[in-house]
Symmetry: C2
Subunit: 177 residues, 2 copies
């Protein structure tokens, strides 16, 4: 099994500053078929296995209207990753800065995946496209920006993403936000 804590040649670390600049509240948990790091794909695929995103009851009202979208950005907390590596040598390759990698190991181990929403029921989202360990804490859900262009919110009398199916249209990719 991969040792998440090992340091490889060429890797450098520094203790994380002791200060806590902001705090997160986990809004739910992600259930995947991946129970060890070795089982996690390098990157999720929208043809991958169906995963469950279980939202805490207190936050379930915030899902209202989510069913209008097929593409979501999920942010989650890679709770088993160390946070102190400044350079890394993935798979024994050359030393590279942490911010030039998408490794889980980073000062703030927030991961981002774009997923395909397959269904919503009783506070659970069914999605494809995840790569994370079973039990990973969830931080945020946003409509993917290509489905939520800035122009959709410019009319004061128009709901940004009506659950009429309009939100399911694949609009051209926009510069991000």
């Amino acid at each position: 099994m991969t040792d998440w804590q090992a340091t490889r040649p060429g890797e450098t670390s520094a203790p994380l500053p002791g200060r806590h600049d902001a705090h997160l509240v986990f809004i739910g948990r992600i259930r995947t078929p991946f129970v060890s790091r070795d089982q996690c794909p390098r990157q999720g695929s929208q043809d991958g296995p169906l995963c469950r995103v279980e939202i805490e009851p207190a936050f379930q009202p915030a899902l209202q209207g989510i069913e209008a979208f097929t593409q979501l950005d999920l942010l989650y907390w890679m709770h088993e990753a160390r946070r102190d590596l400044l350079t890394q040598s993935p798979r024994g390759g050359a030393s590279t800065g942490t911010f030039a990698l998408r490794s889980p190991v980073r000062p703030n181990p927030v991961a981002l995946s774009r997923v395909k929403l397959e269904g919503v029921k009783d506070g659970v989202l069914l999605v494809r496209g995840l790569d994370c360990l079973d039990g990973t804490p969830l931080i945020d859900i946003k409509p993917h920006r290509c489905m939520h262009p800035a122009s959709a919110t410019t009319s004061p009398d128009k709901k940004p993403s009506p659950p009429t199916g309009a939100g399911r249209l694949h609009l051209p990719p926009q510069p991000s936000s």
Copy 2:
């Protein structure tokens, strides 16, 4: 000036749970020309103004190799946004769940922008595509996934993103990670 704290008709709130599930350490600050919420664009544009992303000295070694990428994902903390709204009525529109919106107001106000990297010097990234207030705290930097395909890291003798210019190729968009 927009009142970030006001509640509009149709909006519902609940106190954020008191627990702190994880903590963030700010890795730098973002300098933009936008000094009030009203000046911030609805969404950043890669044709927008040049912004400075100032990395704390302790984290600057983690930038090694970043110059190989032209497209980065930046994660930042919307430090002025309230965190307790479950449904919102943007611009007076219909009530919509927070997770069906990309509003700054959310339980964990982590924003995501895809930016164009124009230059790197002395621990400062020059980028276009941001929409946030001047002084916004930075949480993370990752190569955008379309420039960092999973296949790039599968060969043990190959650096994922060599600063040779190869990383600047625009590869087809991949399912996300």
